[in-house]
């Protein structure tokens, strides 16, 4: 069963003279129990889409359903069944950890104990600071509290808008472990992120840029669909190497990629000659390679 259906959603902001299209005919579906990633940079339209799906914003055109219910007509019912963690910290800064959790439980006409098993693993990590005011928490702890509050009414669909932005690599890994745990409990999750490496942790992803969905696929098939050979090269002078490889015939694109430069080749037949000191190896594309190629094709 489809838990989320998005059909041709358009959202624009601004006046007629200076119109900004935040979402340009966006369509995709999320299946029950799926961990679905919306991957794209800031300004791609991710937050607008989240706000439309959580019934907080109206689209200009197009339709969407969550749990089979229309986001416009049945907004009240949807609100009871979904959890939403906005990008900006949205809890009450002057309430304690415990008070925030109790507050959100009460709003949803439940109490903390009723669904505690769902948040136990997450909440236990911040329980030692239960009496601390929310504004005195560190970034990682705020995130755990916000997730607990979004889950306290046992939603069937969870919307997480950039939960890992500005979070260090270790905490990001921990957060994705928590998501895996929630998925195992049967919750459908739509999560957005600007970090391309997190795409690999999703069941399926939608790659979004400038309000336009460039592809919907499993992470493995995004990579399989790249369809071009990539060489990874490095030398002692990376800056000159980049200039050099950009001039080479048969090289479609060349850009820094960690300790290497990636060269996207026009076809399998391309043979390149490198100076002796250059290390060259063939490499599999990364989601980021795919994203950049799609961006380029979209711009063209």
């Amino acid at each position: 069963m489809e838990k989320i259906q998005v059909n041709g959603i358009v959202k624009t902001y601004g006046s007629k003279q200076k119109k900004l299209t935040a979402l340009d005919h966006v369509s995709f579906t999320v299946k029950e129990g799926e961990l679905f990633g919306l991957i794209g940079p800031d300004g791609a339209g991710k937050t607008s889409l989240f706000r439309i799906l959580t019934t907080l914003l109206l689209a200009d055109s197009g339709t969407a359903t969550v749990n089979g219910m229309d986001v416009v007509k049945e907004y009240k019912a949807i609100r009871k069944q979904v959890g939403y963690m906005p990008g900006r910290f949205s809890l009450y800064p002057d309430l304690t950890v415990k008070e925030n959790l109790a507050f959100f439980a009460t709003i949803f006409q439940t109490d903390v104990n009723e669904n505690y098993s769902l948040i136990k693993d997450i909440y236990e990590q911040i329980a030692p600071f239960e009496n601390r005011r929310a504004d005195k928490l560190s970034g990682g702890m705020k995130q755990k509290l916000a997730l607990s509050c979004a889950l306290i009414h046992k939603p069937t669909v969870l919307f997480l808008d950039e939960p890992t932005t500005g979070v260090d690599a270790v905490s990001r890994k921990e957060f994705w472990e928590m998501l895996k745990g929630l998925k195992q409990q049967g919750i459908t999750i739509l999560v957005s992120t600007p970090y391309m490496d997190e795409a690999a942790l999703c069941d399926r992803v939608a790659l979004i840029q400038d309000g336009h969905i460039m592809q919907v696929n499993t992470p493995a098939d995004v990579i399989n669909g790249f369809g071009k050979k990539i060489l990874a090269v490095k030398s002692s002078d990376m800056l000159s190497l980049l200039q050099l490889v950009k001039q080479m015939p048969g090289v479609l694109d060349a850009y820094p990629f960690g300790e290497y430069h990636h060269l996207v080749l026009a076809d399998e037949q391309v043979k390149l000659d490198f100076p002796g000191e250059v290390t060259v190896k063939e490499t599999a594309p990364d989601i980021e390679d795919c994203f950049m190629l799609l961006m380029k094709n979209h711009a063209a």
Partner: protein
């Protein structure tokens, strides 16, 4: 002062009550170097940066920035550095040109200098048509590139970049690093923090802070060798997982 160094720190420490946020860190950054300053959230990076920028007095230790002492000459330091963060650097309700003029003026540049350089800068960023656009209306990638250009507009010795590429698309992220290389080639020292560990590879040297201390400092290739890791991601995870203190 050591003329070859843009930054020197010796046992630099900052305590808040009985909490030691930065614990005796020592390092030097050469002129023109791109120096990556890494650490998990709460490791003490921001506190250390604030001391180096002359915004917060150390509790102990010594440091010089652009040859000036962080205790005595913090006002002179501020004139010789540029600063850019992901969260705030430009005024959203001023236009592109107004932002440049504002920052140029704050750093004491003449009207003539500002006028001449503004045209050149807009051309370089291919923003000629956007001079009178409110910064609010610019796409994030352009904003970040403009913010960096504004941070080095007054030709500082050192520019501090605090997570400059967060949330930026992969193409713009690389264009941004290209600008960092250009600045470094002009002799500007770049001191940069990031959560993207592939970007650590683009630095000449990288330091990694854990619980207020610098636990590793070397070139990316030497660090990978030292920690037998295939990537900087592996190096970072090994170190950051040792952290004992709960942030905040």
């Amino acid at each position: 002062m050591q003329p070859d160094y843009a930054i020197t720190a010796k046992d630099l420490t900052k305590r808040f009550g009985d909490f030691t946020a930065v614990d005796k860190i020592s390092f030097e950054v050469s002129r023109g170097e791109i120096f990556g300053f890494l650490g998990a959230n709460g490791a003490g990076k921001t506190t250390a940066m604030r001391m180096l920028c002359g915004l917060s007095l150390p509790s102990a230790g010594t440091a010089t920035v652009a040859g000036f002492d962080v205790y005595r000459d913090n006002e002179r330091i501020k004139k010789r550095i540029g600063y850019m963060s992901q969260k705030f650097s430009l005024y959203e309700d001023l236009t592109v040109k107004e932002n440049i003029r504002f920052y140029g003026g704050i750093y004491g540049r003449s009207d003539l200098f500002i006028k001449e350089q503004t045209g050149y800068l807009l051309q370089h960023l291919r923003l000629e048509k956007e001079g009178n656009t409110l910064v609010r209306a610019l796409p994030l990638g352009w904003k970040q590139k403009l913010a960096f250009s504004v941070a080095i507009f007054h030709e500082p010795d050192i520019v501090f970049l605090d997570e400059p590429t967060g949330g930026v698309d992969p193409v713009t992220r690389r264009e941004f690093w290209n600008m960092i290389y250009e600045a470094s080639a002009k002799g500007i020292t770049v001191f940069v923090t990031t959560h993207y560990l592939d970007e650590a590879e683009y630095c000449n040297r990288v330091s990694i802070m854990v619980d207020g201390k610098i636990e590793a400092l070397d070139s990316p290739s030497a660090l990978k060798q030292q920690f037998s890791a295939a990537s900087m991601d592996g190096v970072f995870l090994q170190l950051a997982r040792k952290a004992k203190r709960t942030e905040g």
